[in-house]
Amino acid sequence: MRIGAGAGYAGDRIEPAVELARLGSLDFLVFECLGERTIARENQSRLNGVSSGYNPFLEERMRAVLRICAQNGVRIVTNMGGADPWAAGQVVARIAAEVHGAGYRVAVVEGDDVMEQLGSLQDLPLLESGEPLDSIWDTVVSANAYLGAEVIADSLRAGADAVITGRVADPSLFLGPMLADLGWSYDDYALLAQGTMAGHLLECAGQVSGGYFADPGVKDVPGLDRLGFPFADVSAAGEVVISKVAGSGGRIDRLTCTEQLLYEVHDPTSYITPDCVLDVTHVQFDEVAPDAVRAAGARATARTETLKVTVGYRDGYMGEGQISYGGPNAVSRARLAAEIVLSRLEQRGLTPPRLRVDLIGMTSLHGAAARAADPYEVRLRVAGTSGSERAARSIGEEVETLLTNGPCGGAGDFKLVKDVLAVQSVLLPRGLVTTKIRLVES
């Protein structure tokens, strides 16, 4: 079977997915659009009534690929349902009716929302702070468990042309179709290992086919402006070959695969997913053809008794302001400007508890580490968080008023204030998570 990656994050390019649907001879096209931050943002949008809780590009993506996928027999799997998979499923069914016609089956996976279960489990420790869940419960707005591959496989076995989910572990989005299509047992860990590894390599889409890789002169990548997204050929015996559409931009070789294999992996002997505990330390990559790499040797042990839950909670407000200075003495003027802003905030009694000053072009990325000569131009950035919206807003205002009250030649001001939705995690016993599949047909 052949499975492609149509998106590696919420706002990813759309054309590579169209290319895969059209020319990739795929069986499945997976869109991974729900990062750690993304589900927080989509929950926030839903709460603020700004928009629905699903991926803002859902409609545009589906209009671009659904008809082609339906014609070519490519089934779609995506976590673009975000915080509201049912609403997203209905959108997809509506688009299917318009561009394809009747009889397109959309499966919506629910059950990742575990707010109700957590209500009576206030002692669960937060993995990041070590404090009990109770310590942030008053501000919690969402709690989503990472579901595994089985519910996706069940949806496909039920005849779905498209599977729309909320929070599902990224590799599981890919493993699900393998379980359904290749008849794999959910207890065959040798196969789950290979499938999970393949999913992990594919989940960030372009990051295995030359994206996030180029360093001109050292590691060159052709055609990043038309980067081809990857697909995997997976056999019933668990053989995996990663490749891309011939003629597309990018490159797939041992180096791109090696970098992506460890991406967001901590201990490489135990990468925990809902489906298994993956060990990638014996993985071998072989370049079997141009832009085609065989990946073998993944191992896995039994899945854990718990599922990871991302808990989103309100954590005050963040304010930010930026302004640029150029030409002679630019750095000194930017530093004077920063002093003025900090003093003004203090005079007004609005100094936020967390405050950060950066000189973009000098110290914003790696702190004081950069010790080059003064640049020709520099951009001051002041950012802070506070429980008070007024205090957070004042940061950008104090930067803006530098235009007429600060050092000479301040230019290109910008300000921003937003509410902060933070995330932490808890582990929830599997038995407390009940998944449900609802079908809707065009």
Binding site: G35, E36, R37, A40, L127, E128, Y212, F213, D215, V218, K219, L255, T258, E259, Q260, L261, L262, Y263, E264, V265, H266, D267, P268, T269, V280, T281, V283, Q284, F285, G312, D315, M318, R354, L355, R356, D358, I360, S364, L365, H366, G367, A368, A369, R381, A383, G384, T385, V420, L421, A422, V423, Q424, S425
Partner: protein
């Protein structure tokens, strides 16, 4: 000699943890990094950015060292005040470490 002379790097984020993947360009380069690119040196290089602790994992046949730096992202992607909310640029900083 700096790390960039011997290796490529990629960074990933999870919560407040940054992992820095270092891929050596040759077996000799890997051996040199194995002996010289220690967690202590990396944490010193990331002073003021990553507070640690740090762990190092090795996959010799892929010539990979994977550094896992705790408390590296100012609270993580949803809370950080940094411009680089994911720590995507931290791999570039590692490449400048003097061996």
């Amino acid at each position: 000699m700096i790390v960039r002379d011997l290796a490529n790097a990629r960074s990933g984020d999870k919560g407040d943890v940054s992992n820095l993947i270092v891929v050596a360009r040759s077996d000799e380069a890997f051996q040199h990094l194995l002996e010289n690119l220690t967690c202590e040196k990396v944490l010193r290089h990331f002073e003021g950015i990553a507070h640690g602790p740090a762990r190092r994992y090795e996959i010799p046949h892929l010539r990979v060292l994977n550094f896992v730096l705790e408390r590296a992202l100012d609270g993580g992607v949803t809370r950080t005040l940094r411009q680089d909310i994911h720590g995507k640029s931290l791999s570039s900083h590692l490449l400048t470490l003097e061996l």
